[in-house]
């Protein structure tokens, strides 16, 4: 989604032909997410279908310049003024792995955490090294690139902090984990019914009110 909106935002600066648009996107994102020309043209086709861009002049080399429509400019303003919504449904592989590992008798979750922490710290070292070796950080394209690297650095750091936190929580837990043997109770088939969930919610709320 952000590719579509980013291309639109670039076109809001003035008409571009497809290859030029790709180059503009690359230099504004430090070439961190390179796009192929096919993706650019697919996106332009969809933007045209939605009335957000239109084909304009053709230069002597045959480049078709795409220009933004008023509806497209309005979409750019709406994009810039609204927060990015992250989908709640994305599974976090590491969170699932640690949550499951913490329930497995005989598994040293501390080792699982340390293995991950070392890998994350190596990534951080690599990112820092790349940033440190970068050219003049005040040039506009270097700045764009380093902003993207920063986002990776902070995301990786957040993961390490969460690992530290998890390790401490487990260490302070009486059993250092919550090992679960396989349950002998057969699970009920099918999804939990909505009415069950709703009544449980209502019961929780009632408890909060009376507490």
């Amino acid at each position: 989604m952000s590719v579509r909106q980013s291309l639109l935002a670039i076109l809001d600066q003035g008409p571009c032909y497809g290859y030029q648009l790709r180059a503009e996107f690359d230099r504004r994102t430090g070439s961190t997410w390179p796009l192929n020309v096919g993706q650019i043209y697919n996106t332009l086709d969809r933007l045209e279908r939605d009335g957000l861009v239109e084909k304009g002049d053709v230069d002597e080399q045959g480049h078709v310049y795409w220009r933004i429509t008023d509806a497209g400019s309005a979409e750019v303003r709406a994009w810039l003024s609204s927060p990015v919504e992250r989908s709640q449904g994305t599974r976090d592989e590491l969170a699932i792995k640690l949550a499951v590992a913490a329930t497995l008798p005989g598994v040293d979750v501390g080792e699982v955490i340390q293995t991950q922490r070392l890998a994350s710290l190596r990534q951080l070292q690599e990112l820092n090294r790349a940033k440190y070796a970068g050219a003049n950080p005040d040039g506009p394209e270097e700045l764009a690139w380093s902003l993207v690297v920063d986002s990776m650095i902070f995301a990786t750091e957040a993961e390490v902090r969460w690992l530290d936190h998890t390790e401490q929580r487990l260490a302070s837990h009486p059993q250092h984990a919550m090992a679960l043997e396989l349950s002998t109770e057969k699970p009920k088939r099918g999804r939990p019914s909505k009415s069950d969930a709703a009544s449980a919610d209502a019961a929780d709320r009632a408890q909060e009110v009376t507490a």
């Binding site: 430090g30 070439s31 961190t32 340390q114 070392l118 890998a119 994350s120 710290l121 190596r122 990534q123 951080l124 070292q125 690599e126 990112l127 820092n128 090294r129 790349a130 440190y132 070796a133 970068g134 690297v149 990776m152 650095i153 902070f154 990786t156 750091e157 390490v160 902090r161 530290d164 390790e167 401490q168």
Partner: protein
């Protein structure tokens, strides 16, 4: 290559008998010229004790600390003081500058205590301040400097006169993230120019400036991370 700093079997115990607590147990560590080593670990894991021992501020219960070939266990108090003045530089979280001295005087004080003539000390101090980007703040007092500038003065003081071992305890702890990064970059660059450094930090982002990250748990080194073999997130980008 010889290590600037070596810790061999260093143990630190507080208290005696059944009540004794081991802050460090059998720690071996060597730091070479051009190498920055970060020490990480939870509170109470022994990070600060290790730094105090490495800097000769505290004697270990057992084990040996060797700084540039000098065995700290057999050095006299005056030899230890001289070593701290000539070979070691400390950088602390709260800068520890003397408020009644200018930036330049703060940097040159250890040199003058070490018998440098005033002019030579001043020249070395100016060079050190210029190298941390403070050539225009020689005469400023700490109160007139920002936190980042004060920490840069502290780094200049830590490296002035050819000190080769920098011991930094949470040097970015009191700084915002951008200033903290600038301070780390400076520390990294001083080490690249031939110093050796130990950095105690709980922030992974700053520890990642090191060549090696050493993890302490309950006073023991439990793991080490090097920069070699990193899975490149950026391969193909640069």
């Amino acid at each position: 290559m010889t290590a600037v700093l070596q810790l061999v079997g260093v143990t630190q115990q507080y208290g005696e008998g059944e009540l004794s607590v081991s802050a460090l147990s059998g720690v071996d560590l060597a730091v070479e010229r051009g190498e920055l080593v970060a020490i990480m670990g939870a509170s109470g894991s022994g990070k600060s004790t290790l730094l105090s021992i490495a800097g000769g501020l505290q004697k270990p219960t057992t084990g040996e600390v060797i700084v540039e070939g000098t065995y700290l266990s057999t050095a006299s108090p005056s030899e230890l003081a001289a070593l701290r003045r000539r070979s070691l530089g400390f950088v602390f979280q709260d800068f520890n500058l003397i408020p009644t001295l200018t930036a330049l005087e703060n940097v040159t004080l250890p040199l003058e205590l070490d018998g440098f003539r005033a002019r030579a000390a001043s020249r070395a101090g100016r060079d050190a301040l210029a190298s941390v980007g403070l050539a225009d703040r020689f005469d400023s007092y700490p109160d007139d400097l920002s936190g980042g500038q004060q920490q840069r003065v502290a780094i200049a003081r830590a490296v002035v006169g050819g000190r080769r071992l920098i011991l930094a305890d949470e040097p970015t702890g009191a700084l915002d993230s951008v200033t903290g990064e600038a301070v780390m970059k400076m520390l990294r660059s001083r080490v690249d120019q031939g110093a050796a450094g130990i950095l105690v930090t709980h922030e992974a982002r700053h520890a990642a400036w090191a060549d090696r990250i050493v993890f302490l748990r309950d006073g023991r080194i439990v793991d080490q991370s090097t920069r070699d073999g990193a899975d490149s997130l950026l391969s193909g980008i640069r």
